[in-house]
């Protein structure tokens, strides 16, 4: 890619994505300030919001096409027989799909040669622009990235706060995904929120004294303005080119989720859920801030990278911390271990004193953990996962948006985006946290009966999967699952929303059942989602051009399990990181099918609900169908499909080749090649687990051969433990809330008897002093001032006699004055 082409494409992408980013903001502003004129019964706000986000989607899609074109992704290998591809990939390192190592490899087929050639040229260009001497190396970690600055907000000494952009394949893909899902959710919400189109909305969940319900004006436009702002914040986060900007939008996302979760603010549960979500996030953000401060203190910049060949500006974080071949440049051991920073020329960066700049390795770990702490909060990882189920208090479209495309995705996205900054130690922590989260979420989901909460815990579990994948070196697997999960989870949420809407805001699955004939579209679109998340596939069937016949979830989960298996095999001490996800996969299939069967099949448990149930209008089912199509096919081709290939273009350099055992903990990360070797093995195991879970659910809840109640009684204590959500809330209560209360009481006591006493004493002293001061003031100061005033006044008074108001007298005075002046001059200045 020549430099001009590079800049041209970068400019095109920048403006397309900027439009897509800013449109929701414009929509938000118009909706907020224009609501006064549109009225509460108007759908104008919704149409505007849909228009904005849909236009954003169009722009993003164009950007995606531009990207595919620019990257020269032909997908030609997908069209061949997948078995042949598998064979071929045995020969080549999977890393050929990314930028690494092209110069050293010979290529068998034409497509690969083209691909390699394009990359080589690009690498040369980038190299030449950066002024490096060695052309043969031809390796630029960030050569497929466009960065730049929109606007510099402020500069305080060394700290530069600016609005940057960082565009690579992941950014473009996330934009397309987010805008598409958001569009669907917006459209869905037009139908779902139509209750609010009134001047007098009766909230049945708010009970006033006297058995009445709370009445308030509808908040249709407010809902949509919040949605628009939410989309704006999320897109800004994705587009952000520096970590500080990410933090800004990170917080904005938090605020929006707060506003939307607490949309029914009069409901106690909703407002406390909003508070909980917000505060939990603050805990994580504390870590984020610590990481931020460490990074800025040691690196002196926030920006991710600077790849613009026209600018020889500052070096970005990613470029500093990784060498050209993507490795950390460390030295020393223990606490003395340092990581050297790299310049753009593949050399060590020199500080002002000439010595190479370096950051202590442990601080790099702390910074990574801090940033990941933010991700824990945002993505509801253990131990901060408890806010997410409570967040179901918001309207269902909000749940769909929060749990699929935006809020929780932000954490995973940031982990993926910040991947170059994470050391193996951090990755291990990430993996374990993800693993625990996945297991906890899945087990709780087994026993929950609220349809939305099932999905919520499922989300926690799946997020844990993603984190696990990222932690064990499966960068692609984790983000792949993020995208596929976004589709099917939003689909399922919208389906549940449709069910809830059809059942008149009944969310308890124990009152549903047999709804399939009543709402067929919802039922079967949800089935697609359930199958997708369960990771089911038709065993053994590998079609040409398509690969395994399965919905999107199969491919992504397959990738995760394969990565985990490889990781476990390379690091036997951490083999738990493979078995727990495997078990969890089975559990996932079980509880998702449980939910589906309980809702749509069997006998109606509550005749009243069943009688009034109805299919939702097209405005709600339309998005379901659209999303279900994507949930089904978006990952076709698996790891060789277009989606994965697209993501591979922006994979960090060091991931593909894996990492040899290193560091204190001796962690080894798998390479693509090794993962590929374990693919089929892991796929079989995962599929097996999923089938087991599905069959058990079928037996329990559809055929009802075994009564679930019996099982519940048998394992009553476990069930109770699970129903109590592993008693996290109680533990937190004991660990944090009660101590805080006790400390608070101590503080009150100290305040009352210690500080207040001192303050009162001081106050009395001040009063005493002031009394004396007043006397002094009155006796001396005032008197002096009065004397001056009186003298002035009496002087002026006596001088009024001269001011006669007579014109002629004044003239006389002037003349006499001049004469006197001259006389005086003559006397005192004789010549």
């Amino acid at each position: 890619m020549p430099s001009e082409t590079y800049l041209q494409i970068g400019e095109t992408l920048k403006w397309l994505l900027t439009i897509a980013w800013l449109l929701p903001l414009g929509g938000f502003l118009i909706e907020v300030f224009g609501a006064k004129w549109s009225g509460r019964k108007s759908r104008a706000a919704a149409y505007l919001a849909v228009l904005c986000i849909a236009t954003g989607f169009v722009c993003s899609f164009i950007a995606l096409c531009t990207w595919i074109d620019a990257e020269d992704l032909t997908f030609s290998d997908v069209w061949q027989n997948p078995l042949a591809i598998a064979a071929e990939h045995d020969d080549h390192a999977a890393g050929e799909h990314v930028t690494a190592g092209h110069g050293e490899h010979a290529h068998g087929d034409a497509a690969h040669a083209d691909h390699g050639h394009g990359d080589a040229v690009h690498g040369e260009v980038a190299h030449a622009e950066h002024g490096a001497a060695d052309h043969g190396h031809g390796n630029q970690p960030l050569s497929h990235t466009f960065t730049g600055t929109f606007y510099t907000l402020a500069k305080f000494g060394n700290i530069k706060v600016s609005l940057d952009y960082y565009i690579d394949g992941l950014t473009v893909l996330m934009f397309t995904m987010v805008t598409f899902i958001a569009t669907c959710i917006h459209i869905f919400a037009i139908g779902y929120m139509s209750d609010e189109l009134t001047e007098d909305y009766e909230d049945h969940f708010v009970h006033l004294p006297g058995g009445k319900h709370f009445h308030r004006p509808g908040r249709f436009y407010r809902f949509f303005s919040f949605l628009s702002l939410f989309c704006f914040a999320m897109l800004g986060l994705v587009l952000a080119g520096n970590i500080f900007q990410v933090f800004i939008f990170w917080e904005l996302v938090g605020v929006c989720s707060y506003l939307l979760i607490g949309f029914y603010v009069e409901r106690k549960s909703a407002s406390s859920a909003a508070n909980k979500a917000f505060i939990m996030n603050r805990v994580g953000d504390f870590g984020f801030l610590i990481g931020l401060m460490i990074l800025w203190t040691w690196f002196g910049t926030f920006s991710f990278a600077n790849t613009n060949p026209d600018q020889f500006g500052e070096v970005g974080l990613f470029q500093m911390v990784r060498t050209d071949d993507g490795q950390l440049d460390t030295e020393g051991a223990g606490m003395n271990r340092v990581a050297y920073m790299q310049s753009l020329h593949g050399e060590r960066l020199e500080g002002t004193d000439g010595a190479p700049r370096a950051i202590p390795y442990w601080l790099l770990i702390v910074a990574g953990l801090g940033i990941f702490g933010g991700c824990i909060g945002k993505s509801a990882q253990f131990p901060l996962q408890t806010w997410l189920p409570d967040a179901m208090e918001g309207p269902t479209p909000v749940s769909a948006l929060v749990h699929s495309a935006t809020m929780v995705a932000a954490g995973v996205y940031l982990t993926g985006r910040f991947y170059p900054m994470f050391t193996p130690e951090v990755l291990l922590v990430i993996a374990y946290i993800g693993c625990i989260t996945a297991f906890i979420g899945a087990t709780i989901a087994l026993v929950v009966t609220d349809i939305k909460k099932v999905l919520a815990y499922s989300t926690i579990s799946q997020l844990g999967y993603m984190m696990l994948a990222l932690g064990v070196g499966g960068w692609l697997a984790g983000l792949f699952h993020l995208v596929t999960h976004a589709f099917f989870k939003s689909l399922m949420f919208l389906c549940s929303g449709s069910v809830i809407h059809g059942c008149h805001h009944e969310q308890d699955m124990q009152k549903m059942g047999g709804l399939a004939p009543k709402m067929p579209i919802t039922c079967w679109t949800m089935w697609i989602g359930v199958v997708a998340i369960s990771g089911l596939a038709i065993p053994g069937l590998m079609l040409p051009y398509i690969g395994a016949v399965a919905f999107s979830g199969y491919h992504s989960k397959d990738a995760i399990v394969a990565t985990a298996l490889t990781f476990a095999s390379k690091n036997p001490t951490h083999s738990l990181l493979f078995f727990i996800p495997l078990v969890t996969a089975g559990i996932t299939a079980f509880y998702m099918h449980r939910m589906w069967f309980m809702t749509f099949f069997g006998k109606p448990r509550d005749q009243h609900v069943h009688d009034h149930a109805h299919e939702s209008p097209w405005v709600m089912t339309g998005p379901l169908v659209a999303l279900s199509i994507f949930a089904a096919i978006c990952a076709w081709g698996g790891e060789h499909g277009p989606l994965a290939q697209l993501m591979l273009t922006s994979e960090p350099t060091h991931v593909a080749g894996g990492i040899a055992p290193s560091g204190e903990i001796g962690l080894a990360l798998p390479s693509h090649h090794e993962i590929h070797g374990n693919h089929s093995k892991a796929g079989v195991m995962a599929l097996l687990a999923a089938f087991i879970g599905t069959i058990v659910a079928y037996v329990f809840y559809c055929r009802q051969t075994v009564d679930p109640a019996l099982v519940k009684d048998r394992f009553l204590s476990i069930h109770r433990f699970l129903v109590d959500k592993w008693q996290f809330d109680e533990v937190y209560d004991v660990m944090f809330v009660r101590p805080v209360h006790v400390i608070g009481k101590w503080c009150v006591g100290l305040d009352k008897f210690g500080l207040d006493a001192i303050l009162h004493g001081l106050a009395r002293l001040a009063i005493g002093v002031a009394t004396w001061d007043r006397k002094f003031d009155e006796a001396v100061v005032d008197r002096v001032v009065n004397v001056f005033g009186e003298v002035t006044y009496s002087t002026g008074r006596s001088l009024t006699a001269i001011q006669t108001g007579r014109l002629r007298q004044y003239v006389m005075f002037i003349a006499a004055g001049v004469v006197c002046l001259f006389v005086v001059l003559f006397i005192f200045l004789p010549r």
Partner: protein, 103 residues
């Protein structure tokens, strides 16, 4: 006989000036005061023109006196309008009656 030099003209100017000042100081008639002002201005004008002739001032003096004449005419017009107003208010043009500003 020596030609009249600068001092002769300056003397005439001084006399006119002083007479104008006396006029201003003694006339109770507002128009009389105005005439005094005109005299003062003329005294100054004589000086201007005399200096213009007898020093390096050149035409600057003449031009200055022209401006003085023109502005004096303007001043007279405005002053007369004020006198008329004064007359409308007090039914006299005795400036001694205008003592509203007495301290």
């Amino acid at each position: 006989m020596d030609p009249v030099g600068l001092s002769g003209y300056l003397t005439v100017g001084a006399v006119l000036f002083v007479c104008g000042v006396i006029c201003m100081a003694t006339k109770r008639n507002a128009v009389g005061v105005l005439m005094g002002v005109e005299l003062v201005l003329n005294g100054a004008n004589i000086n201007f023109v005399a200096f213009s002739r007898h020093t390096a001032l050149g035409l600057d003096g003449q031009i200055a006196s022209l401006f003085v004449i023109v502005l004096a005419a303007a001043e007279a017009a405005v002053a007369l309008a004020i006198v008329l107003n004064f007359y409308n208010n007090h039914l006299t043009i005795d400036v001694d009656r205008a003592v509203e500003l007495k301290g």
